[in-house]
């Protein structure tokens, strides 16, 4: 038995040294290590050996089996190494298989980015129709008929009563009709002005209006929210100012300027040498607007604001012609993502 074991060990070592393929290795396993292999047969014969040497022989056989397994593992590992070494090289410099990627329009990007800031500040998001009535676009927003304030809005009329909204502000009236305060929402959307199309003006553009109505809302709250917005969007180090302005639907009204982020306030072409950029209009909801939606201005107060999207995007990305935004020349659109 002892001789057989030694001879087999010899043989396994010799065969293992010559294993050059995985098939050969598998044959090695079947021949020596499988349930019907040579080592298993020797274990069969163990029952016939003398009892006094049986434990020794058993131990030797176990050693043989372990050695066989080690030889096989080593041979397999060597094969993998050899396979790696002889692997076909591929030209990794070829371009990858592409995946088409769409570009979001710069106006959508700007709307989404600004909306997300207000979402984080607890504002809901509302839509409204682009064909509005005189009532929602003007009257309920405290635009008196025949008031020069209407000159600020060159209006496309469809019928005597229907028009293309000149701002997204009408949505605030619709919201206050639908919900009682508190209301905290923004309303992005497309608006229209009946103007000659030029580098600086278009018949359409986008706005985001916002509204917060509750008990005890103050001008200070308005400043807090808008300064936070400006810092989140334009950067935390900016300077800002609020200056009195006029909108029929707010009072007191203000416009918010930030220090020009191109020249940092020293004056440049973009800020017309003033060092300031106007970024939005805002104010406290005018009591007349509340009266149209039956909210008691003694009980509630609110603020409203409006941001022009194209102007924001154009300033930010150095686009000097608004027409580029709606022509859909993809050589332009592809520059932004």
């Amino acid at each position: 038995m002892k001789e057989k074991i030694d001879a087999l060990l010899e043989e396994m070592r010799r065969v293992a040294a010559g294993l050059e393929s995985e098939q050969a290795a598998e044959q090695f396993r079947i021949m020596y290590l499988s349930r019907k292999g040579t080592i298993a047969q020797l274990f069969e014969q163990l029952k016939d050996v003398a009892p006094e040497i049986k434990p020794r022989m058993g131990k030797a056989l176990n050693g043989l089996r372990q050695e066989g397994q080690s030889l096989l593992d080593a041979a397999l590992a060597a094969l993998v190494t050899t396979r790696d070494a002889t692997h076909d090289t591929i030209d990794l410099t070829l371009p990858g298989r592409t995946h088409a990627r769409g570009h979001m329009h710069i106006v959508s990007q700007t709307v989404e980015e600004i909306s997300d800031i207000f979402r984080r500040m607890g504002f809901s998001v509302a839509d409204g129709p682009e064909i509005e009535t005189e009532y929602y676009n003007f009257e309920a927003l405290n635009f008196a008929a025949d008031h020069p304030a209407r000159d600020m809005q060159d209006t496309f009329f469809i019928t005597d009563n229907h028009l293309l909204r000149t701002h997204t502000t009408p949505v605030q009236v619709r919201l206050m009709e639908q919900y009682r305060p508190p209301i905290r929402a923004i309303f992005p959307g497309k608006v229209y002005r009946n103007e000659v199309i030029s580098a600086r003006s278009h018949v359409q553009f986008h706005q985001i209006d916002g509204l917060f109505v509750d008990r005890g809302v103050t001008f200070a709250d308005l400043k807090g929210t808008l300064v936070t917005f400006a810092r989140m969007y334009y950067g935390s180090s900016l300077k800002y100012r609020f200056r009195p302005s006029y909108f029929p639907f707010t009072e007191p009204s203000a416009e918010m300027d930030i220090s020009c982020y191109l020249c940092h306030g020293t004056g440049c072409r973009v800020c017309k040498q003033s060092g300031w950029l106007e970024i939005l209009g805002c104010g406290m909801v005018d009591p007349n607007v509340f009266s149209f939606v039956d909210v008691d201005p003694e009980e509630y107060s609110g603020y409203a604001f409006g941001i022009g999207i194209e102007r924001t995007a154009m300033l930010r990305h150095g686009i000097d012609d608004i027409r580029l935004l709606f022509e859909n020349d993809l050589r332009v659109n592809h520059q932004f993502n």
Partner: protein, 806 residues
């Protein structure tokens, strides 16, 4: 509005620095839009004294002068024929920029003599065209004085943006009033003695429209001389952006720019009778205005007439015939108050906006007309001779100051700041708002009549806020959230946008206004909404579909050599429903019944190649299934792909190949291979595959929550079948038939191959599909599946006379 700093300074003390002035004005709401500092235009150009003047040793026409510029003597070579010793002249020092000549003065040798400066003509300063010689100044000019100051040109022109509510600020005094209030300084008004005429000549103001003309003040001046205005007046008007005309017209404009009261001067000799009639226009009345245009006067426009005819359109423009000319010797000055709405309507109908109409539209002060007429007369008499022979004032119902109660606590409550009552009182007083009563809660205020915009308590809150300063209102360090009504109407469109971007579509954004014929594609003309008054006439119609927008974009990009495109747009489309019911009298009242339908749509278009030539792939032209695949993938991503039905739409005018999409039984859009006819009208000569989906319908179909279904425990088995059927049978019907057999444990059917060739026979095609079987309870046995497949084959044979392909 342009204001002169020097002019402003005569009414109020101004800060030295322009920055500070800019800040004050902007902070009170009079936004400084531009600052033109003319003081810098003549930097280094000063009054000089010619001490000596001798002939140039080497040039006959040149003189060598020594000029004292207040700091020392300079040798200057001068070519002017009129230069003499002892003259006070305009001296440009070394370093001065002569804009008209485009150079900066430098030391240089002229024929061997070094010249350090230049003696200038008025033409070289850009003041006039007099090139005959150097400008000789008054003898009392002081050497070294900056020339701009000496000539009164050292001004700063401020461009102020005045919001529509601030008609009161449209003048130098109006603006000075706010500056004085903001700085807490005094406002200085010019001394204007009231005119008294012992025996006025007979003249009458007959006001037939006191509601549109609350006050009309007039004055007659005789023996005046019309001529060019003196320099100070011309300079003042020029600084304010108004072209000087003659001393009479210039004075009326000066008073307007001073106090904000528009005025007009009529040549009295041209007026018929001794009466001014204020009335509204009759139908068809015509008049030639100052600008030489004959105009038809809008009905109800307010007119100023003599006894025979209109002589001015009230508050808008005077008539040509009655205007002041060089030969005028007597005038009627008009200083009136007109109704803002009436002036605005008339000006709009005439498409005529003037400095006068602009101010009246914004509200004028009825109580300033007399002051203005006295002021104008005072100025005319001081520069144009003459005498006042009558002053007339028609003011039927004097307008008193408005009474408004203001609660100081309300101011603080709304602003979120503590401004004590004392400070509030001080601000009101500075704005000439008088507190006539005061109790524990409120001030009773009387508002000056020049502030017609102050009507309510809230208006006074704004006054206090803007004079106190918006900057003084603190920025809180915490922001409120609101957990009340929560909604997000943009969330779903945003999801769709992100999905289609992921599928490689570029988002575009187009004009909603399109050419009329584009808006009508695939629609009845009566569905199209058209704007009535478009400035751009080519695009008056609202799109009824996004199709024309995407086709325009495809055309443009193809022309730019970019012809393989996947583009998407999200936008509203508009259609109208005119239920043209006739009223009781049988007349059509379409307008009143028009309603508009507005939908938010997502459009996708694919054209050109789906894949380019690459090392791993060949060029493949895009086809309908690239589009359909994108739509299906989107529906799958929304988890509504099992709720959708595609079906042929044979009635569409867009093309023969139109597929309608229904989601949960509702129309949700269509997929179209656009017809060549439509493509040709956009100059597109390659196929376009187009889908337009209704965003709201899709959103309604999506459930916001998916529930967990246990993962299958037992293996699935697939079986393939290939059948040969008539070529006209849609694959979807075959799949539907297979599904409808309700074969046990059939989970999925998918078409994997379609082809036709001669061996199958004419008009026959082979359709291969793979079926997946799976049970939730056990591993399926072969015989169970075989039975199900047999039943399916039987159905297909029966329904389509299908043959099983080996």
């Amino acid at each position: 509005m342009l204001l002169s700093r020097n002019w402003l300074a005569s009414y109020v003390d101004l800060p030295e620095s322009l920055e500070e002035l800019d800040q004050i004005l902007t902070n009170v709401g009079l936004e400084v839009e531009s600052i033109e500092d003319r003081r810098e235009a003549f930097a280094n150009i000063v009054v000089g004294d010619v001490r000596t003047c001798e002939k140039h040793p080497d040039a006959d026409k040149l003189s060598v002068c020594t000029v004292d510029d207040g700091t020392g003597s300079h040798t200057v070579v001068c070519g002017a024929p009129n230069v003499r010793a002892g003259q006070k002249i305009v001296f440009a020092r070394v370093g001065a920029r002569i804009e008209t000549l485009g150079f900066t003065i430098d030391r240089r040798k002229i024929r061997g003599v070094e010249s350090a400066g230049m003696i200038c003509s008025t033409a070289e300063l850009g003041l006039d065209d007099d090139h005959s010689g150097i400008a000789v100044l008054d003898d009392n000019a002081v050497p070294g004085t900056p020339i701009a100051r000496h000539l009164g040109l050292d001004d700063v022109i401020l461009g102020i943006g005045i919001t529509p509510n601030r008609g009161d600020a449209l003048s130098h005094i109006g603006t000075a009033r706010d500056i004085a209030a903001a700085r807490g300084t005094e406002l200085r008004l010019p001394e204007v003695p009231a005119l008294t005429v012992a025996l006025p000549e007979p003249f009458m103001i007959e006001n037939r429209s006191p509601s549109l003309c609350p006050r009309y003040t007039g004055a007659i001046l005789r023996n005046i001389r019309v001529m060019e205005s003196p320099d100070w007046l011309r300079q003042a008007l020029t600084a304010a952006g108004i072209r000087p005309i003659n001393n009479i017209v210039d004075v009326t404009n000066y008073v307007m720019m001073e106090i904000g009261q528009p005025m007009h001067a009529f040549d009295l000799a041209t007026l018929q009778g001794s009466r001014i009639v204020v009335r509204t226009a009759d139908a068809g009345e015509r008049m030639t205005t100052l600008d030489g245009q004959e105009r038809e006067l809008p009905a109800d426009a307010l007119l100023i007439c003599d006894e025979r005819q209109p002589v001015a359109i009230a508050g808008v423009m005077g008539g040509a015939q009655s205007s002041v000319t060089d030969g005028t010797t007597s005038i009627l000055l008009e200083s009136a108050c007109f109704d803002p709405s009436s002036v605005r309507r008339t000006a709009r109908l005439l498409q005529l906006s003037t400095d006068s109409s602009y101010r009246f539209e914004r509200g004028s002060d009825p109580n300033i007309t007399a002051w203005a007429i006295h002021r104008a007369a005072q100025l005319i008499l001081s520069i144009g001779h003459g005498e006042v022979t009558g002053v007339y004032d028609n003011y039927p119902v004097p307008i008193a100051r408005r009474r408004i109660a203001l609660r100081p606590a309300f101011v603080n409550r709304l602003l979120g700041i503590e401004i004590d009552a004392g400070r509030q009182r001080e601000i009101l007083r500075a704005l000439q708002i008088e507190i006539v009563e005061e109790d524990a809660d409120a001030f009773t205020c009387l508002v000056p009549t020049f502030r017609g915009d102050l009507e309510r308590e809230i208006d006074l809150v704004e006054e206090i806020a803007r004079i106190h300063g918006y900057d003084a209102i603190p920025v809180p360090t915490r922001i409120e959230m609101n957990v009340g009504h929560r909604f997000d109407d943009q969330e779903f469109p945003r999801t769709l946008r992100r999905l289609v971007l992921g599928f490689g579509f570029d988002e575009i954004l187009s004009s909603s206004l399109v050419p009329r014929d584009h808006a009508g594609i695939g629609r009845a003309a009566s569905d199209v909404s058209v704007v009535r008054n478009p400035v751009s006439k080519e695009r008056p119609a609202l799109r009824t579909s996004l199709l024309p927008s995407l086709l325009e974009a495809i055309d443009l990009n193809c022309r730019n050599g970019h012809d393989s495109l996947r583009i998407a747009e999200i936008g509203h489309v508009f259609s109208r429903e005119a239920t043209a019911a006739s009223d009781a009298h049988g007349g059509a009242r379409v307008e009143e019944r028009t309603s508009f339908i507005e939908r938010n749509m997502l459009a996708l278009a694919i054209t050109g190649n789906a894949s380019d030539r690459e090392w791993y792939s060949a060029v493949r032209p895009a086809d309908f299934f690239d589009l359909k695949g994108a739509v299906e993938a989107m529906l799958a991503a929304l988890y509504i792909d099992n709720e959708t039905i595609f079906s042929y739409d044979r009635s569409s005018t867009l093309s023969e190949n139109v597929l309608t999409l229904e989601v949960k039984g509702r129309y949700a859009g269509q997929l179209v291979e656009i017809s060549d006819t439509i493509l040709a009208s956009f100059d597109i000569d390659q196929p376009v595959y187009y889908a337009e989906l209704d965003i709201d319908t899709l959103r309604d179909a999506v459930s916001d929550r998916q529930t967990y279904v246990p993962v299958p425990k037992f293996p699935s088995v697939t079986r393939d079948l290939a059948i040969v059927v008539d070529a006209s049978i849609p694959a979807a019907r075959i799949v539907e038939t297979v599904r409808n057999t309700r074969a046990a444990n059939l989970r999925n059917v998918r078409v994997v191959d379609v082809f036709s060739n001669e061996s199958l026979g004419r008009n026959r095609k082979s359709v291969a599909f793979t079926m997946t079987f799976q049970s939730e309870e056990r591993t399926l046995r072969d015989d169970e599946i075989n039975g199900a497949v047999d039943a399916i084959v039987t159905s297909l044979r029966r329904d389509f006379t299908a043959e099983l392909r080996a």
